[in-house]
């Protein structure tokens, strides 16, 4: 899965999750285009949301990022980078 596919996968996963901040953040288009990042603080994400992203990453890419690691990453762009690094 390439970088743009990973970005789309994360957006789709968040759209199907309990996280409501993605579209409210106004940052989604830039993230999908690869020109911007979305900090977790903008996502209004609780522990359930963190688990949902981790589950989606593992189901769609086979990469295991556990919730504590995800929180440390701090942004969706960093999640993409981490997945690519682990897939390399």
């Amino acid at each position: 899965m390439g970088e743009s596919d990973l970005r789309q996968m994360l957006v789709d996963a968040i759209d199907g999750s309990t996280i409501v901040g993605l579209r409210r953040s106004g940052l989604m288009e830039g993230f999908l285009e690869g020109t911007g990042d979305i900090p977790f603080a903008a996502l209004e994400m609780d522990s359930m949301g963190v688990m949902e992203i981790c589950i989606a990453v593992e189901v769609n890419t086979g990469v295991e990022i556990v919730p504590a690691e995800l929180v440390e990453l701090g942004s969706l762009g960093a999640v993409v980078a981490s997945i690519r690094e682990r897939q390399a």
Partner: protein, 301 residues
């Protein structure tokens, strides 16, 4: 259910798949089942079952116990001496009733539309523990596609306008009252369903925007079109639109909805020193206010 759950987690090999199994279980379990599960998991000799490498067994054991313990703690906030006894039945594929008693007379049927996570802003056993099985039965109508109901309620129908009239035919009858209750993306469906299922009361918490662009990918009418058509049917029914004080988007959504349903009561959930955002029901739990909130706005007094 408990054996099924332990059989399921015995097959997982990662923390994320364990979390998924627990999240799914907590969308289905009754309070009694959660207490039975946590009791089994806190036996001194209980260790995580299955294929996990020996060096990670403790991590998985602690992880499983931790998530379930959070739910149990929240259940205790209801201030009741033991778990409330509800029994789960399948009404039709994907739609379950959590019945407190067999006899509907003198009781209330709650038809509930959860948000994308399949839950009413918290695991189902917490909600059930804050209700009385002597007073209510609860039907859960989740969107298994996790698509904000824009593809309806499969398999009842691929659009809400198709699915909701069919839903009403599957609901048990004979109750004194019917109410609808929706959270997040389930908020609008709870409003749309009320006239169809004969509900006298609607509680929608953090209902989404009528102009959600994701609905353009759906197969039916837009949410705004559906609400404009349904609004006259809400006249004479009690409607409450609740939202978190620090969720301006949800406040705007409530304002837009009151444009269509002028008699709706807007309720702003607010606490000093605490931000109440979209998940507006959750802060009520540790303050021991969830039960009285549901009683008040679902008319369960």
């Amino acid at each position: 259910m408990i054996d099924e759950f332990f059989g399921h987690i015995a097959r997982v090999t990662t923390i994320n798949m364990l979390n998924l199994a627990i999240i799914d279980a907590l969308n289905l379990m009754t309070p009694t089942e959660v207490i039975a599960m946590t009791t089994a998991m806190h036996q001194e000799d209980w260790r995580f079952p299955g294929k996990v490498p020996a060096e990670r067994v403790q991590e998985f054991t602690d992880g499983a116990r931790s998530i379930v313990a959070q739910t149990v703690r929240a259940m205790y906030s209801a201030g009741k001496p033991g778990p409330e006894r509800f029994t789960r039945f399948m009404l039709t594929k994907g739609i379950r009733i959590f019945a407190g008693a067999i006899e509907p007379t003198g009781r209330v049927l709650i038809v509930a539309f959860p948000g994308n996570g399949g839950r009413l802003m918290m695991p189902l056993p917490i909600i059930l523990q804050h209700l009385s099985p002597r007073q209510v039965d609860v039907v859960m109508v989740p969107d298994w596609k996790k698509a904000n109901y824009r593809f309806g309620i499969p398999p009842l129908g691929d659009t809400l306008e198709e699915a909701l009239p069919r839903l009403s035919k599957h609901l048990p009858s004979g109750y004194d009252r019917v109410v609808t209750f929706g959270t997040s993306s389930g908020g609008i469906p709870s409003l749309l369903a009320a006239p169809l299922v004969g509900a006298d009361t609607v509680l929608a918490v953090g209902a989404g925007s009528l102009d959600d662009v994701r609905w353009s990918k759906g197969s039916g009418q837009s949410k705004r079109q559906l609400m404009e058509a349904a609004a006259p049917g809400l006249v004479g029914r009690r409607v409450t639109l609740a939202y978190g004080a620090q969720s301006p988007e949800d406040e705007v959504s409530a304002d837009v909805l009151t444009g269509l349903v002028p008699h709706a009561e807007k309720v702003r959930v607010a606490f000093d020193g605490v931000e109440v955002k979209h998940v507006a029901l959750l802060p009520l739990v540790p303050r021991e206010m969830l039960g009285s909130f549901l009683e008040r706005y679902l008319g369960l007094n």
